[in-house]
């Protein structure tokens, strides 16, 4: 019966948005990749206590030595991984806490929304470095809580970037069309159904690129952890400098390693941005 058509139609994979999310490969693949990466990062990355170079440092009159530079690459990778771990964990905190802050800021109860607006503004406009020192001092002075430096960095990054995320969420929630709210009210949806089925599915995809940018920014701020004694990238550079009296190679290597991670990450975020703006049109 179908042979009446002269040319056979090429089989085109149909885009079926009505499939459930766990049946869609374009959702599932990044999700599985992310969770595997996450598990590896948490489980497999251990924070080294020391970064020791095994090679003898070149003498002081050599300003730059390539052998020494390449020799330190494995140590640098270790440092970057520690930072990546703290960043990813911290950003998980930020995503969740940021949503709570966004809700707190846009609620109609004044005694909730005003203090949360103040807290968000306060955290946003003060340096992360001082905040890290503050958290460290606070947790030391409270009895019964002892956090490792990486945990302090995670928490500090999480709280700092939660405020940024909350602004992004707020913009996303405000960008949901007013008719959608009215329709949800007209359909007599409860608050939970309204948020999970109507508002969040429309608000969050719009802010994904912004969140991605903040993830990259959080990674760029992660080396600050050296101030609370996190044994990360900058700690590696400082330690090599202290032990071998050579400053150029470790710091330049730290910069190179940083760019190698953050440039591809920024590129990925831009691709995401393009794709989402394409889907929205």
């Amino acid at each position: 019966m179908t042979q009446t058509t002269a040319h056979s139609e090429p089989v085109v994979e149909e885009f079926r948005p009505h499939r459930r999310w766990f049946q869609r490969p374009d959702v599932l693949t990044p999700l599985i990749l992310t969770s595997v990466g996450f598990a590896l990062l948490i489980g497999a990355v251990s924070v080294p206590a020391n970064y020791r170079t095994e090679m003898d440092a070149p003498p002081g009159d050599v300003s730059f030595d390539w052998m020494f530079f390449f020799h330190m690459v494995p140590l640098m990778v270790q440092g970057v991984l520690v930072l990546a771990k703290a960043t990813v964990l911290g950003f998980t905190v930020a995503i969740v806490l940021g949503f709570a802050m966004a809700l707190g800021r846009r609620t109609k109860l004044r005694w909730v929304s005003w203090p949360s607006a103040l807290v968000i503004e306060f955290i946003r406009s003060t340096p992360l470095l001082v905040q890290l020192f503050f958290w460290q001092a606070l947790f030391r002075s409270v009895e019964g809580i002892s956090l490792t430096p990486v945990e302090i960095l995670t928490l500090g990054l999480g709280i700092h970037y939660a405020t940024y995320c909350s602004e992004a969420y707020r913009a996303g929630i405000n960008s949901v069309d007013k008719g959608q709210w009215e329709a949800a009210t007209a359909l007599n949806l409860g608050p939970v159904t309204k948020w999970t089925r109507v508002i969040i599915p429309q608000a969050v995809p719009n802010v994904l690129p912004a969140l991605g940018n903040y993830l990259v920014a959080a990674f760029k701020d992660a080396p600050l952890g050296v101030a609370v004694n996190v044994h990360g990238l900058l700690f590696f550079a400082d330690q090599v400098r202290a032990e071998t009296f050579r400053a150029t190679e470790p710091y330049l290597l730290a910069g190179v390693g940083f760019l190698l991670v953050s440039l591809p990450a920024a590129w990925l975020v831009r691709q995401l941005e393009k794709r989402i703006s394409y889907e929205r049109v």
């Binding site: 406009s125 003060t126 470095l129 001082v130 080396p223 990238l233 150029t248 330049l252 910069g255 920024a266």
Partner: protein
């Protein structure tokens, strides 16, 4: 827990640190603005290689962490080039300025692109040189788009200045640590409260910057808003009295 405030002399120390912070912020702002203007305009150049260099700079400045850039510029580069590392403030300023320039260039590029194309075409037809076009036509109109994100960026740089305490400059943060040493020696004081005061100081500085930029925006709007329409009387006065004039 004792009082939430510090003593007067400690506040004086913090303010003295704030002067250093503001000095670094001001210098970095100047470097950053110049860099972002140059690079932002270069990113719209007609020549490919200029665009390429500008793009490279932007990607570098935005991709690298400001603290690592600070360590490279302030410690590694002087040793590498054999330059004496004397003026730490200048080196720190340079690093923060480069960082700001990367972000600022994108702001300026976006703002220039947001000016309607007809304006550029009109100024070409008026025979303005490209510099005049930029200075008198494009940039004033782009200014309203530039100012708000530039204010946010300046606050980011203010936050960035806290990093210079790690390379040994005595800004607010370093001053706080000095005060802590003093407190430890006297066996008084509470560390979280000290840092909370420092945070409040930074918050106030950020709000001041915010206010300055709001004022600048207001001034800019006032300056470039259309003047009041001419009254009929003025219109009458301007109308060429051609009817009578040519006869006599």
């Amino acid at each position: 827990m004792e009082s939430w405030l510090l003593t007067g002399s400690q506040y004086m120390l913090l303010l003295r640190g704030a002067l250093v912070t503001l000095q670094i912020l001001g210098l970095a702002f100047v470097v950053g603005i110049v860099l972002s203007l140059v690079v932002g305009i270069a990113r719209l150049s007609e020549r490919t290689w200029i665009r390429g260099v500008a793009l490279g700079f932007v990607e570098f400045a935005r991709g690298i962490s400001s603290i690592i850039l600070l360590f490279i510029v302030a410690i590694a580069i002087p040793i590498l080039l054999g330059v004496p590392q004397e003026n730490l403030i200048l080196l720190a300023t340079l690093a923060l300025g480069i960082n700001m320039g990367g972000y600022g260039a994108e702001i300026i590029r976006g703002a220039i692109q947001s000016v309607p194309k007809g304006q550029a075409e009109a100024s070409i037809s008026l025979n303005l040189t490209s510099l005049q076009r930029l200075r008198h036509v494009i940039l004033p109109q782009a200014m309203t788009v530039i100012l708000p994100p530039m204010g946010n960026l300046t606050i980011e740089i203010l936050k960035g200045t806290a990093l210079v305490s790690l390379i040994g400059l005595t800004d607010v943060m370093q001053m706080a640590r000095n005060i802590r040493q003093q407190q430890l020696a006297d066996a008084v004081g509470n560390l979280p409260i000290l840092y909370l005061n420092v945070l409040v100081l930074y918050f106030i500085l950020a709000q001041v910057i915010n206010l300055i930029f709001r004022l600048a925006e207001r001034l800019m709007e006032k300056r470039y808003e259309g003047g009041p329409a001419l009254t009929t009387e003025e219109l009458e006065r301007m109308r060429p009295t051609s009817a009578e004039g040519t006869v006599s």
